[in-house]
Symmetry: C2
Subunit: 732 residues, 2 copies
């Protein structure tokens, strides 16, 4: 590089003096996230301007759209009611429990704002993808490259909007509460934003997950088995509910999920930044937002760079975009560390560990769920000896894969912790310094979240596009193009699940460090002692702490059970509704009258939203109950209060169990799914063979694992973190 340019670049990097830097950084974050939302709007307009194909296509797409909207209306009503109820609880708990009217107002505002943003994130994901699917199908009539670009950009609307909204929301609240002048208090006041987001996400993911699988099972059982009509037959009133399910579970649920992930993790990292205030000042608090904003820019550039070259596999083009986004994100990280963290290269290294870890997770997921490798082949082979061995081998593979996943998580946490310790931040303990390293690694994982989410939403869009092309009987070459896209979409969906686990695992540690710091900050203010002198060790050798840990692990098992059982219950309501329509209007079966798709959708929705209340309430109530009961126990010998400590143990061991169970369920389910596809490609007798029948059983068992319970556990982990952060002062 030219020496003069080099020098002025270095000057720019360190240009801002410490006093005004905070203001500038915050404004930059808000500006970049505003730009992000504009870009999302631009992408959406681009997608909407595309051709909507034939009337036949529109008919099917409209049915999906009206179904999805029926779901959204219903879901938003239920969740909004629950959120308002909880907001009141939070307000009064803080008002009377803590006797602090200002804090009560701020907590309530944060919570509601987080909830509204999360609803918006889920809604936008859904809104665009149900409009993008038909345009992808239409474009596939002429060009694969064009179709792929529409699908990716449709997905990117969600990815960019959600990530930008998360940064914008947190940044805005920080500014609104005058965080620049009270940087040590405000992060603790906006934790409720993360909780609001997680709360909505939990119900969205649970509801969506229950919805999609209940519709699937219900439509199959009553249509194929009872009425004897083929799969995806338009006479089946539940068939649209089934198609809607993909959007509901994958788009809306995942959008809310990633929104709360990024919000919760940013807030957690900001709280950690508070404890390092004397080292980095305001910069340390704002660093997570700034790094996230630069990552958002990197992701946007990545999205715009994707172009299909000739006849290549769409996956290749998507991966190229991911590499570009990651590469730019590394650069952005370097700049952020230079500008805000004094150019400490060890901290930069921790961020790089995070980015590398996200690659490793993607690879591991691929190994365990792709039919080119041992695990799926092993399951496929066991299908030849019947459904029992199919199930046994799938369960065994699901459990096995936790091994490498945990080793990777362990290495990432350890490595970034070590980098943090090496950073040797002046005036803080090696522990705090190391923790900041793991926090930065988490930010590294999250830096390309927008791109990952774009790839993820690419999945259901191409899935639906394939369905539309199929049902509107497009010529073979068009369907070949949508099949290619659909295959790529399946891969991206699996990979992003691995990414989601990785980010959840790393963030988990960050979030409960934030919880402990939060507790210590509250105690420090209460006891009027310096932060460093506050005792707080989560010693599971203590009886109450051990009990908290045991209950935390149990919570995950019970939650999974309730989520899985909910699928079965709602499937029953679907069956009854379809039977009712067939009975009351015999014209439907004759093909002379359209069934009421939206009524069926509404019933599944009502059922799903009702069935999700029990599993959804469990992680909300359990930690609060433990905290309020254990609060009355005498403190530990070192003075650690048992209320906050029992909850910490519940949170940590619940998180550990959650990471394992989610990995088990996601990968087990994915492996069964692909074992079926592998057999359908012609192995072990192909479609219709006994092995294929056994593989269908495996796939059906795997469905609620990978699409209901597994993804819901991701959110459960975050919810546990954020609710404990919000409720922490009540446990003291």
């Amino acid at each position: 590089m030219n020496p003069i340019l080099n020098a002025s670049f270095a000057l720019w990097l360190q240009a801002m003096p410490d006093a005004t830097q905070g203001q500038t950084t915050l404004l930059t974050v808000l500006a970049i996230s505003a730009v992000g939302m504009l870009v999302a709007g631009y992408l959406a307009r681009g997608v909407l301007n595309k051709d909507t194909g034939t009337p036949e296509m529109r008919r099917i797409s409209d049915a999906i759209k009206s179904g999805a909207e029926a779901y959204m209306n219903r879901q938003n009503k239920t969740i909004a009611a629950l959120a308002i109820l909880l907001a009141l609880v939070i307000y009064f708990a803080y008002l009377f429990g803590k006797d602090d009217a200002r804090l009560a107002v701020r907590m309530t505002i944060s919570f509601l704002f987080g909830a509204v943003c999360s609803l918006a994130a889920g809604f936008s994901g859904m809104w665009v993808s149900i409009r993008a699917n038909i345009r992808v199908a239409a474009a596939a009539r002429s060009s694969l490259g064009e179709a792929m670009q529409i699908a990716l950009r449709g997905g990117a609307v969600t990815g960019v909007a959600v990530t930008a909204l998360s940064l914008f929301g947190v940044g805005l609240l920080f500014a609104f509460f005058d965080g620049v002048n009270n940087p040590r208090d405000v992060p603790g006041q906006i934790v409720a934003f993360g909780f609001g987001a997680s709360f909505v996400a939990l119900f969205a993911q649970l509801g969506g997950g229950i919805y999609t699988k209940a519709a699937d099972v219900g439509a199959d059982l009553v249509g194929k088995v009872e009425a004897g009509i083929p799969e995806d037959d338009p006479r089946n009133p539940a068939v649209i509910a089934d198609l809607v399910g993909d959007n509901v579970g994958d788009c809306a649920g995942r959008g809310a999920d990633i929104f709360e992930s990024s919000a919760a993790e940013n807030i957690g990292a900001m709280i950690l930044g508070v404890t390092l205030y004397k080292v980095f000042g305001l910069s340390g608090v704002l660093f997570p937002l700034y790094a996230g904003a630069l990552g958002l820019l990197a992701s946007i550039i990545g999205v715009f760079s994707v172009r299909l070259k000739g006849d290549e596999d769409p996956m290749k083009a998507l991966n190229r975009g991911f590499y570009i986004a990651s590469f730019i994100a590394v650069g952005g990280f370097y700049i952020a560390v230079q500008q805000l963290l004094g150019g400490n290269l060890w901290l930069f290294g921790a961020g790089v560990i995070g980015i590398v870890t996200s690659f490793l997770f993607v690879f591991l997921t691929q190994y365990y769920t792709d039919h080119n490798y041992r695990p799926v082949r092993f399951i496929a082979e066991s299908c030849t000896t019947g459904p029992a061995t199919t199930i046994i081998s799938g369960l065994a593979i699901g459990m096995e894969c936790t091994g490498l996943v945990v080793v990777t998580i362990t290495a990432a946490i350890f490595g970034s912790y070590w980098m943090g310790v090496q950073a040797a931040l002046p005036g803080v303990s090696a522990l705090a310094s190391g923790l900041y390293g793991t926090a930065i690694a988490t930010m590294g994982v999250l830096s390309t979240a927008a791109y990952i989410l774009a790839m993820d939403t690419f999945g259901p869009i191409t899935d639906n596009a394939g369905g539309i092309a199929e049902m509107s009987r497009q010529p073979a070459e068009v369907r070949h193009r949508t099949d290619l896209l659909d295959a790529a979409g399946n891969t991206t969906k699996a990979l992003t699940k691995g990414y989601a686990i990785g980010s959840a695992a790393l963030a988990a540690f960050l979030l409960f460090s934030a919880y402990i710091d939060d507790v210590k900050l509250v105690l420090a203010a209460k006891l009027n002692k310096p932060f460093e002198e506050i005792p707080f060790s989560v010693d599971i050798g203590q009886v109450p702490v051990f009990i908290g840990a045991l209950l935390g692990a149990m919570l995950v098992f019970l939650f999974s059970s309730l989520a899985i059982q909910a699928v079965g219950k709602v499937a029953q309501t679907v069956i009854q509704e379809v039977r009712r329509q067939f009975r009351e209007n015999p014209d439907i079966m004759l093909g002379q009258a359209d069934p009421s798709y939206s009524q069926c959708v509404d019933i599944v929705t009502a059922g799903a939203l009702k069935a999700m209340i029990l599993p959804g309430s469990l992680p909300v109530l359990a930690p609060v109950l433990v905290g309020l009961v254990f609060k009355n126990l005498p403190p530990a010998e070192d003075g650690t209060p048992m209320g906050a400590c029992g909850v910490a143990a519940m949170l940590m061991v619940g998180t550990i169990t959650g990471i394992l169970m989610a990995t088990f369920m996601n990968n087990g389910g994915g492996a069964w799914d692909n074992a079926k596809k592998y057999i359908e490609l012609g192995s072990h007798g192909g479609k219709g063979s006994e092995a294929h029948k056994a593989s269908v059983v495996g796939d059906t068992v795997g469905d609620p694992f990978k699409d209901t319970a597994g993804p819901s556990i991701h959110v459960l982990i975050k919810l546990l973190s954020t609710i404990t952060l919000v409720a922490a002062p009540l446990f003291l």
Copy 2:
């Protein structure tokens, strides 16, 4: 009570002066356990003197006997080789690692003695039950009451011998190492006895569990599916292996399991007694052995009290015996507390909590696995919609049942801890006092272990007796009698699994308290500081500790996966061996030549013992590896050494995950099994219906859950505890 009698009773209770009390107590324990072994011998002679029935019965029984002996020879060789290898490692590790030749010799002796006793316990269980089965079948020709008594007394040989041997072994080592004069050091030196016992038990349970399920699956697949011969056809060379499997998995495995449980828990409680030395002196250290000895007497009385009244359900008579044993055990507890613990009624209360908890566990297991209640009915109903819904509902029920089980464990730990705190032992912290309460609750659970084990072994004996009656074509009334016994045996087997979980869960807390105390004792000696000033908190908020916890949870998942996969692998070797015999000697299929049962048994054994090496090594190596690696990390801020602390976290969270996974697998498997039986009794279409076919799939999936992985996890939990106790000094 007569006032004079009352006074002299009170005098007797406090008769022994403190000086000679230890000697007397120890001698009493040794005497009672010697009496126990004599009683076992007497019971065995009584059983062996019974009639062995018809020649046809003897032919089948001999085949089972020769198969079981082939297994025992092979298993003992493999385990002995592994144990000797490990003994050398222990010797040299202590010799060079700790530079203490005396300790090295004592540890090695303890380990080998524990291993030998455990092998003997497994062997005796097997030896008697393969001889009792035919005598039960023979007696069933004339009297149900007589048959039941033989079966129970055959089971009691194992129960009494194993429990007595455990007390005798620990007591003898304590005397041999002059524990009466060094009560503070010796418990730490005999921990290796528990480790030796657990080590053997792990391999025995894993090997047995893999064996029985591999033989079952292998025999079915090659016999019924390939050769087209009926189940249990004598021409199938694997059919005896299948029958042997019941003895191998249930008798030998469970015998070694209960042996190590009682040994490990007694030693753990003794170490806890050491920390209370200044309160109770030697008495506190010997209390667990003394309470156990009185419990053994109670169990023996219970066994002898069982008599069938007329035509009543055998289960009623068995339960009556259990109530009598429990009632006497409560009395024994009262006496032990009076004599050794100064008559502290709070501590007696903690013991009663333990006994009540064991009842609760039995009831919970019944609720989740008996077809009279919701869970099994729910699974049975889901069988009507095919194998996929059968599996899903079974998995959901298995996960659900962890809820009530954990709540019960929590209540028991909390209650007994509270009782311990109320006991307000002078001069020790509330924490230590509370822990001793939970320790005593564990002893309460274990006090009727001999009777429970007798009921447990009753299961495979009656199972085999039924098989012999069936295969020797006894008249219907005889088979009806053995069916009644078999049904009772199924119930007792399920109930004792619940008991085993309960005892493992309570003991877990005791065992890692013992670990922490052990570490602190070693550190106290090393740093020459008083015990109370040694810092040791297992703070999972610390990065290395959290990583230890994460690895511990993963260990259980990976172990389960390997255990389940091993079943599949060995089943393949069975299939190949049976094919080979059919091919090389066509006379077998014509019924003109006997197949080589023992060769088939030997091959399954070899396969099972080979397949168990990997899962068996995992829990042995993992904690040592973590300890040796983490040892090099800097200590926590409070001075806690990271090696011992990381291992503690691994142990604790591994235990928590283990309790949950074992409960999930045992009860899920049991519920599937009984859903099948419920359908076979005529519900949902009965035998041969589609629902029945689906229920068979559920049962097959449940088999490796409840008979291989689940019970092995019980042992894994104890092994983790004992290996960490043994290796603790190496982590410092």
